[in-house]
């Protein structure tokens, strides 16, 4: 095969470029130069595992298909003395390459579905609860206080001293502890299930704590619950992941994970609704 072929340059270049792309992809991915943020929640271990499984499957397919494409293109490049083969069907082959992806997808659907329902099962009774409100462009917080109950709120009651519109007539709201947007830090207990009630005053926001593998939209007019178990003490970043306006990129919050006793102690030092709203 030394005879000159018309398309050699392009066939060769395509093979070379594809090999380089595949090599770079494999090296950078396997080397974990950029990887998932350090993990700090229980279910995150499970989702990360499914991520890695998916990465392995798709990675293998990626390498095989890209290399096959480039090799086929190179091998069957223009040759004026040859004529292309004439075939256009191959039942067994076609059935195989329909069934194989179907089986792989079914496995992914089953494992994904099971994990999804595990993440979304109802939280254990008596879990630590906190309410997080999104507003342009900051996070407000509310803790239920000693009674463990959140008082009623109404958007119509919002004013400067009552930024969450808490109904002070509701007995459950008297001992609520709230922090106007941008002023508090989210204190969570380590190793305990945490329920976050997500709400919004204005537009869509999304409660995203990269270290927890938690992302859930906050929707005005709705209370959306999500729960997880933080597994590491320390300070973490809360990010808004749903476009909420021009300050979207600045909507940063601080999450502090510490032992339950410390959280309780800190909570007991905070002013309640009764102290703050006349």
């Amino acid at each position: 095969m030394v005879k000159k072929q018309k398309g050699s340059i392009h066939a060769g270049l395509f093979l070379l470029v594809t090999i380089l792309i595949v090599l770079a992809a494999v090296v950078i991915t396997a080397g974990r130069f950029w990887w998932l943020p350090p993990l700090a929640s229980e279910h995150g271990a499970w989702t990360d595992r499914l991520f890695v499984v998916t990465l392995l499957i798709t990675g293998i397919v990626f390498v095989l298909v890209q290399i096959a494409l480039a090799y086929f293109v190179f091998r069957h490049r223009d040759d004026p003395e040859r004529r292309a083969a004439y075939f256009h069907d191959n039942k067994p082959l076609e059935i195989t390459w329909t069934l194989v992806p179907a089986v792989i997808m079914t496995l992914l659907i089953v494992s994904g579905g099971r994990l999804w329902s595990r993440i979304h099962q109802s939280p254990p009774e008596g879990a630590y609860e906190v309410e997080v409100w999104g507003e342009q462009f900051k996070w407000a917080l509310r803790y239920p206080g000693k009674d463990g109950q959140f008082g009623r709120t109404d958007i119509r009651l919002i004013n400067d001293t009552n930024p969450l519109g808490i109904d002070t007539k509701d007995p459950a709201s008297k001992d609520d502890i709230f922090f106007p947007a941008g002023e508090g830090e989210l204190h969570l207990p380590v190793g305990e299930p945490v329920v976050v009630r997500l709400r919004s005053k204005d537009v869509l926001h999304s409660f995203y704590v990269p270290a927890f593998r938690v992302k859930q939209d906050a929707v005005p007019g709705m209370v959306i619950k999500t729960w997880f178990v933080p597994t590491k003490e320390g300070e973490f970043e809360l990010v808004c992941a749903e476009l909420c306006g021009l300050g979207h990129y600045q909507m940063r919050g601080i999450v502090i994970v510490e032992p339950m006793e410390k959280v309780q102690e800190w909570l007991s030092q905070q002013q309640t609704v009764m102290d703050v709203i006349p």
């Binding site: 018309k6 392009h10 066939a11 395509f14 594809t18 792309i21 991915t29 130069f33 950029w34 998932l36 943020p37 499914l50 998916t54 990465l55 499957i57 798709t58 990626f62 494409l69 086929f72 293109v73 069957h76 490049r77 223009d78 292309a84 083969a85 004439y86 075939f87 256009h88 191959n90 076609e94 390459w97 329909t98 179907a102 997808m105 659907i109 994904g112 579905g113 999804w116 979304h120 342009q136 958007i155 119509r156 919002i158 519109g165 204005d202 537009v203 995203y208 990269p210 992302k215 939209d217 929707v219 005005p220 007019g221 709705m222 992941a241 749903e242 306006g245 021009l246 300050g247 979207h248």
Partner: protein, 595 residues
Amino acid sequence: MVRETTTEVHHHKETFLTRYIFSMDHKVIAIQYLITALAMGFIGLFLSWLMRIQLGWSGRQFPFLSRLFPGGVEEGIIKPEFYLAMVTMHGTIMIFFFITAALVGGFGNFLIPLQIGARDMAFPFLNMLSYWVFLASCIVLVVSFFVTGGPAAAGWTAYPPLSGVAEAIPGSGLGQTLWLLSLALFIASSLFGSLNYITTTLNLRTKGLSMGRLPLTVWALFITAILGLLSFPVLLAAAIMLLFDRHLGTSFFLPRLFIAGHQAGGEGGNPILWQHLFWFLGHPEVYIAILPAMGITSEVLATCCRKPIFGYKAMVLSLLAIAFLSFIVWGHHMFVSGMNPLLGTAFMTTTLLIAVPSAVKTFNWLATIWGGNIKFTAAALFAIGFVSVFTTGGLTGIFLGNPPVDIQLHDTYFVVAHFHFVMGTAAVFGIFAGIYHWFPKMFGRMMNEPLAKAHFWLTFIGVYLIFFPMHYLGISGVPRRFYDFANYDFIPPSVSGVNIFISIAALIVGAAQILFLVNFVWSLWKGPKAEKNPWKATTLEWQAESPPPHGNWGPQLPTVYRWAYDYSRPDATEDFVPQTVPVVGAPAGTDGGKH
């Protein structure tokens, strides 16, 4: 099914105005669509440059930008609201006004009548109307750049309340209203087109051209038209409802809100409703963009490989399967929206199933290449490039379609990488393959091949340099639609370096598109004259003159005797047998020869 083939050619007198401007000839309309779409595409490309300038060099002053955009750039620094407006308009323009318009409006109009042996579309007047309404929608959208507050800035998905309340973001004033109006016009135009394509494909096929002999381009465009017809009206309704919410005080999507210091919204509206309605179109829309590109790729691959397309039936069935499934996967955009998690499971199942027909298509393309004798035309390179980027982008869809994995990746750069490969660049590669392939038929002149190939290599390599690194940003958790990343500790410092790298690649690849532009314009006047069938292809359009006259064919319509992919038949002397060549011993209209 088969119409009489001796329809008269009407020869009414044509002035310059009725021939080139208010033309009812599908070929002229196709070219009008294509050129308008390309112009919009260059605007969209330019916007992406501005975005990349901000992302690569946030905080650095570029005084020349202040002169270009006095409203959006202060002291040479792009303002956040202007950045978000660029994000919104880039997405809107590229998806609807460039990709959809070029593929469906451009190639749909050009190819359907020619490849089915018809003289024109079923409803030429509606066809003309479709283009002019489309042009109006483009104008409204471009005008929105110049209104107070700037163009819409709530993302191409326009999620309310951000898009529903004027105070929410500067672009949600008049800009958002114009955006919605423009989209409504676009949808109307697209519906006219869809009706035409469906009727034409069903009724105007020439003698002998059964559905089973249609080229895959026509199949893809036909299925695309059905998708558009069934999904676009939902977005039209949603857009009108959002306009009502904004201006007439209804509250379909707006609950009671407290925004910018005062009460707003109404009672009982739900923002998630918009997401359902939007994605009911939005998801089929990505297939509206990709199916015609798949058709073009199949067509060009068969021609350049000199080999029949592998698995024709499987190709058609997989198109149908993808189209059907595309209607029941919209919820995969909403796994973390607050939708019931149970629905998430259902949408996950349908979404991951789409991988099966997509995989079948990819394997069929590979099998088409295997054993071929590839002529490396520029169109061929782009078609091969399509298979490459579609595979890369399709595989990352498997991450995002799986909700537990999607939690972390949703709304990060991983998503940006995914859709730019699978429907962004893939569709654009389809457009380029189509233009390089059919330019001789459209304009009767050849394009410059070396220049076109240089265009391919810069674009192909560049696309990987731009979008592949975005996967890693996404895995690191970098959110999309962020103006600046400096404020976050979880984002590794290396990300700013990656962003500079991507931006440089984007600027170069953007500039490389000038090669295409120059080639296109130069070839229009100076390209060598094209013969009837320069690529030695089998389908009907190559039997017409280049360019085909008004009415496409002579007095007699062509008759079809065989399927569209008789390349390199062992029993034929030439390595291609046009569809119009009778099969020895088989009467017209029957299945001529085994394929």
